[in-house]
């Protein structure tokens, strides 16, 4: 028996191909949406991987440093360093802001890293160009996604930094590229105010009789000095010594330092389960809506194609064609449309994914799931058309 569906598709291939392309673009958007979600999850994991930390020590009862603000004194690390099982520790600050370069500005996560050597937690683990930060001030290493070039000067608050190194896949959980600068500069950048604000603050302090006592010379200067410096960091990153369990060391830090400590799985749960949960639900809603729209489009197209063949279907039924042969004709066409659409969607998603500003991760498993969903949608969408075809009276071919 010949394939009636195949012959019909070959006969009207232009109609099928163009309809498939239209459907394919919709499927491409759906695959890309799934890729955006996967990219967000991957960004979060990469952020944790590339930090080089086994534990994150943050302000007590906060979900810091990524999901909530966290503030620790910058000498906390000394106490943590002395606990059993801790190999290396480093202060770190994170500040998402606009970084200017000439006329343009880029949203970036400015990360303050402790002076030391590569391999310390918080440092970019590998560079694609240039070198790591070697000076204590005004040098930066930027992710290539920021668009900054080696040797360029970038502006963070009032200070200019020279880009000495470029790294890759160092982004925040929001997808913003990271720019690494020395910790002291980052601490200053977090709290640095403009000159007018500083003058106003000093005037208010000087007007406060509690700080400006005639009998205590030097008090006012000490207070002003403490106001204009920032001894805080957002987190202390900890690397474990070999053979020590993360949970045990974390318990030890919690008990002795009265701070909140997260292990890698806990931090991943915070980032994926809390920080991007709303975005994930948003994308999930989009995927559901796109699936419904795709199903409606396939159903409409197949129904219209079937209505255009009512006379032929009546003739086929009159000359003794089985209902299942007619149902198979419609079903196979719906699936063929889905296959064409999926192929177009997969190709377009693959080509346009790198153009997206945020990382789009197209996983093979998602493609397999997507293909299965497309086939199921096409099968369901063909039900209306099959019902219409099976209702056709063979007597319509005779007329009268």
């Amino acid at each position: 028996m010949i394939s009636l569906a195949g012959r019909d598709i070959l006969h009207a291939w232009g109609k099928f191909v163009f309809t498939g392309i239209g459907l394919g673009l919709l499927i491409g958007v759906t695959l890309t949406m799934a890729g955006v979600y996967r990219g967000m999850v991957d960004d979060a994991r990469v952020l944790l991987d590339n930090s080089g930390a086994d534990l994150w020590v943050v302000q007590r009862d906060t979900l810091g440093p990524y999901a909530e603000s966290s503030s620790l004194h910058d000498d906390v690390w000394r106490g943590v360093r002395g606990l059993p099982g801790v190999a290396r520790v480093a202060n770190v600050t994170y500040l998402t802001m606009q970084v200017r370069q000439g006329e343009r500005d880029v949203r970036a996560m400015v990360t303050g890293i402790t002076a030391g050597e590569p391999g310390l937690p918080g440092w970019p683990p590998r560079l694609v160009a240039g070198r790591q930060i070697t000076r204590g001030h005004f040098e930066a290493v930027a992710d290539v996604a920021s668009g900054f070039k080696l040797g360029e000067r970038i502006q963070i608050r009032r200070n200019a930094y020279r880009v000495v190194g470029l790294t890759r896949r160092m982004v925040s959980s929001s997808g913003d590229p990271m720019v690494f600068i020395p910790l002291r500069d980052a601490q200053e950048a977090q709290f640095l105010k403009d000159n007018e604000a500083i003058r106003q603050e000093r005037r208010r302090t000087a007007d406060n009789p509690a700080f400006n006592r005639p009998g205590v010379p030097g008090l006012l200067d000490a207070v002003i000095n403490s106001q204009s410096s920032n001894p805080y960091v957002n987190a202390v990153l900890v690397q474990l010594a070999p053979g020590h369990a993360a949970a045990t060391v974390a318990d030890s830090i919690r008990r002795w330092k009265r701070l909140t400590v997260y292990t890698r799985p806990q931090m991943e749960e915070i980032l994926v389960g809390k920080l991007i949960a709303t975005s994930a639900r948003q994308i999930g809603m989009f995927l559901v809506i796109l699936a419904i729209v795709s199903a409606a489009i396939v159903a409409f197209i197949i129904y219209t194609l079937t209505l255009g063949k009512i006379r032929e279907i009546a003739v086929l039924k009159l000359i003794g064609t089985r209902n299942r042969t007619i149902a198979a004709l419609i079903l196979q066409q719906a699936i063929a449309l889905g296959v064409i659409g999926f192929a177009v969607g997969k190709i377009t998603a693959t080509f346009w994914a790198p153009v997206f500003p945020k990382y789009v991760l197209l996983l093979p498993l998602d493609s397999v799931i997507g293909f299965g969903a497309v086939v199921v949608i096409c099968v369901l969408a063909s039900v209306i058309a099959i019902r219409a075809a099976l209702k056709v009276d063979p007597a319509e071919a005779i007329g009268g």
Binding site: L4, A395, I398
Partner: protein, 236 residues
């Protein structure tokens, strides 16, 4: 090959029930022998289409008998089991418009019926080509229906009706869209094929051009048939 053509006795068809019931056929008798081509003529609303649908096993009569070849199809409320298979294997249809399947070429349009009956594709196509040759359209065997003239399309439709060698062919206004020359050409073919395959052919028509070609004509009016000898000689 056919056995004894088609015979119907006292065929009635009632639509609706009670006071609103309408008798479309009121005891129709008709017999068409193998190799014979008869005309069925009647005005609109006479029951012509209902009779054609009953003969074509598309609708079931309310009462009466229909015997196709040696097989009883209807007998006062009883009917043969699989009407779909009956239509496929034992009744040929030729319509006013050819209604060829637009996405199949000429050969496969004709070969589709034996394929549906489970014949191998190659054998089905061989039979189709044989018929197309007999109808002088073998040179268009690979053409699509949209590439054929009206006359060629109708000859392909006749080939499709004949391909399973049915004992009866029902032709519904087969010459309506054709000019006189082509209409007579179609009638000539139908007569030739009826004799060759010993098929009983019933042609429903209003077409004045072909009425003189019938040897026998059934007139139908208000659900009742009247037989009349025609003037034609059946293209002997």
């Amino acid at each position: 090959m056919s056995g004894k053509g088609i015979r119907i006795e006292g065929l009635t068809k009632r639509y609706g029930r009670g006071d609103t019931a309408v008798d479309a056929l009121k005891g129709v008798d008709m017999q068409v022998a193998p190799g014979e081509v008869v005309g069925l003529i009647g005005p609109s609303g006479s029951g012509k289409s209902t009779l054609l649908k009953c003969l074509g096993a598309v609708i079931e009569p309310t009462a009466g008998r229909m015997i196709l070849g040696d097989e009883v199809i209807y007998d006062d409320g009883w009917r043969v089991g699989d009407l779909r298979a009956l239509r496929r294997d034992r009744i040929g249809f030729v319509f006013q418009a050819p209604y060829l399947i637009p996405f199949l070429d000429v050969t496969d349009n004709v070969a589709l019926l034996p394929m549906l009956a489970g014949q191998p594709n190659a054998e089905s196509r061989r039979r189709a080509l044989e018929l197309l040759q007999g109808l002088d359209v073998q040179h268009r065997a690979r053409a699509m229906p949209s590439q054929l003239s009206g006359g060629e399309q109708q000859r392909v439709a006749i080939a499709r009706g004949l391909v399973n060698r049915p004992p009866v062919i029902l032709a519904d206004e087969p010459t309506a869209p054709l000019d006189s020359e082509r209409a007579l050409g179609v009638m000539r073919i139908l007569n030739r094929m009826a004799r060759r395959f010993e098929t009983a052919i019933i042609v429903v028509t209003h077409d004045e051009k072909i009425i003189p070609t019938f040897r026998r004509i059934y007139h139908i009016r208000d659900g009742v048939t009247y037989e009349e000898a025609g003037q034609g000689r059946g293209f002997d």
